[in-house]
């Protein structure tokens, strides 16, 4: 027993003693394992973290890719839109370019007026209703067809229609244009350039410068007009212009007054026949010595006749000027038409009509304008003679839209309507 106990104790002691040693050796091994495990663990942890990071990265990039795709899609859509817009712009640009650069152009211009007249010894009336469209058909810089049609409301309520002018103009070069058709007489300034209601600063034409007065109205024939080549191209000095024409010429109108046959007037509407068979030739030369001053000289010669009678001589003389200085606008004009004597005629004498006017206008503040005009019209018929002072006040709604009021102090043969003063109002529109 004692032995057993001893053995057991010995074994126990040995074992116990050995244990620390064992533990010593076994402990190193365990430690290493543990550490390896630990390392593994932390590696796994790191890997896991890396994986997570990777996953988020992947997720992010997937998202990025989706966004990128979306953005690309959007960009594509924008590009498509832009392309469409560019196409549209190109189309618009092309049509704009076409408008600007077509060979042919159609253009509508013209003027219109409406007014009121209050004349001494007559009923006051609304009148002066006129519509004058001007048609332009242009081919390149070569040809222009220009035509003004005149519609006028007459006293009896009917409407008169007239072809004021129709010409086909061909530019021969920089200095000459050939004009053919019915044209406004190039003699002087008023008929050709001032008669449109938006241009004329008074509601009426100066006496003798209306139809069938002292100034010729129109011609049917051929005209050459343009600029006189002077100095260097583009120089800003002296300018000159000219207009020369050949036409059918006028016809004389007869009137029997008090048993006496007289030539009542010279018809210059631009006849489509030539009863005397001889043409009338004439024209005008304009000088512009300094800017804003133009001086013109006009003349014409030829034959005319009373229907069914022999020819007799016919002559026009004219001079005009226009000058703008600061807020002033001055213009004046003289014209005479003379029919030569013819012994075989029912009205054998020489007949002469002449008229002249001077006009001054001043631009007041606030787009008002004051105008004064003096006219002296001389005719072989006392009933036609008239001396006139006209004063007017205009309001320029726009440079081409004008409201005018005017008063005419008229002196003619007492008892005739040429002696009656008039108040006039007019609204004129040029377009």
């Amino acid at each position: 027993m004692k032995n057993l106990l001893f053995r057991t104790s010995a074994i126990a002691i040995i074992m116990l003693g050995a244990t620390p040693a064992l533990a010593q050796t076994g402990g190193t091994q365990d430690n290493q394992e543990f550490q390896a495990n630990q390392e593994l663990l932390s590696r796994i942890e790191r890997l896991e973290a890396e994986l997570a990071a990777l996953r988020t990265a992947v997720q992010q990039s997937t998202q990025n890719i989706t966004t990128a795709i979306e953005t690309a899609d959007e960009a594509q859509a924008t590009a498509n839109k832009a392309q469409k817009a560019v196409k549209k712009v190109a189309k618009v640009a092309k049509s704009a370019e076409e408008w600007k650069n077509t060979n042919s152009i159609i253009h509508l211009a013209g003027y219109a007026s409406a007014g009121y007249t209050n004349k001494q010894n007559a009923n006051d009336t609304f009148n002066q209703v006129q519509f004058s469209p001007i048609f332009h058909y242009q081919y390149k810089d070569k040809v222009l067809l220009e035509s003004e049609v005149e519609f006028k409301v007459l006293e009896d309520g009917s409407t008169s229609v007239g072809l004021e002018y129709l010409t086909i103009d061909v530019n021969l070069n920089d200095y000459a244009t050939l004009v053919m058709g019915r044209f406004i007489s190039p003699v002087g300034q008023f008929r050709q350039n001032i008669h449109p209601s938006w241009i004329n600063k008074l509601p009426s034409a100066p006496s003798g410068f209306g139809h069938d007065g002292a100034a010729p109205s129109a011609e049917l024939g051929i005209q050459l007009r343009g600029a006189v080549p002077l100095g260097a191209v583009g120089d800003s000095g002296l300018r000159m212009n000219y207009a020369v024409y050949v036409g059918n010429g006028p016809e004389l109108e007869l009137e029997v007054e008090g048993g006496v046959t007289e030539i009542h007037g010279i018809g210059t509407a631009g006849f489509g026949r030539d009863i005397d068979g001889n043409k009338v030739a004439g024209g005008r030369v304009g000088f512009i010595p300094i800017p804003k001053l133009e001086i013109g000289l006009s003349g014409a010669m030829g034959d005319t006749a009373i229907p069914m009678e022999a020819d007799r001589s016919y002559r026009i003389l004219g001079a005009d000027f226009a000058y703008q200085w600061k807020k002033f606008d001055f213009r004046g004009e003289y014209v005479q038409q003379e029919v030569g004597a013819l012994s075989s005629s029912v009205a054998p004498e020489t007949w002469m009509w002449e008229s002249w006017y001077m006009q001054g206008a001043y631009r007041l503040p606030r787009n008002f304008e004051a105008v004064v005009r003096y006219t002296d019209y001389n005719s072989p018929h006392s009933s036609q003679r008239q001396e006139q002072w006209a004063v007017g006040l205009n309001y320029l709604i726009a440079p081409q839209v004008i409201a005018k009021i005017a008063y005419e102090f008229n002196a003619g043969v007492v008892g005739r309507d040429t002696d009656d003063n008039r108040f006039l109002a007019q609204l004129a529109y040029g377009f």
């Binding site: 408008w99 600007k100 077509t102 152009i105 253009h107 211009a109 009121y116 209050n118 006051d124 332009h136 242009q138 810089d141 222009l144 103009d169 070069n173 920089d174 244009t177 300034q189 050709q192 350039n193 001032i194 449109p196 938006w198 241009i199 007009r225 343009g226 600029a227 080549p229 260097a232 191209v233 583009g234 120089d235 800003s236 000095g237 300018r239 212009n241 000219y242 207009a243 304009g286 512009i288 800017p291 804003k292 133009e294 226009a322 703008q324 606008d329 606030r366 787009n367 008002f368 309001y395 320029l396 709604i397 726009a398 440079p399 081409q400 409201a403 009021i405 108040f423 109002a425 040029g430």
Partner: protein, 112 residues
Amino acid sequence: MKNFTIILIAVALSGASLGLSQTSYAAEKQAATETKKPKAADKAVAKKKSKKPNFARGAKLWANRCTGCHNIRAPKDLTDSEWKATMMHMRIRAGLSGQDARDILEFLQRSN
């Protein structure tokens, strides 16, 4: 009665005129400055004898030549195409040389 009508029309016209907003006369002011450009500028412009349309010459000619018969018309009044037809019309009407007309057209088309 007659006098009454005259007064009525006069009042109506002047009333309407005053009631209207003031048209700014840009074109006239512009024309005034164009004409007032010093002589030296004039000579410089004149020296450019090129036959090509010239804007500066056109501006000056517009200010000087387009007041001769009627109130000056602003470049903004018309489109390029309308100016083309109008300048052809005015060239023939006013006896402008082809070069003067081209210069003025250049100015009008670039200023509208």
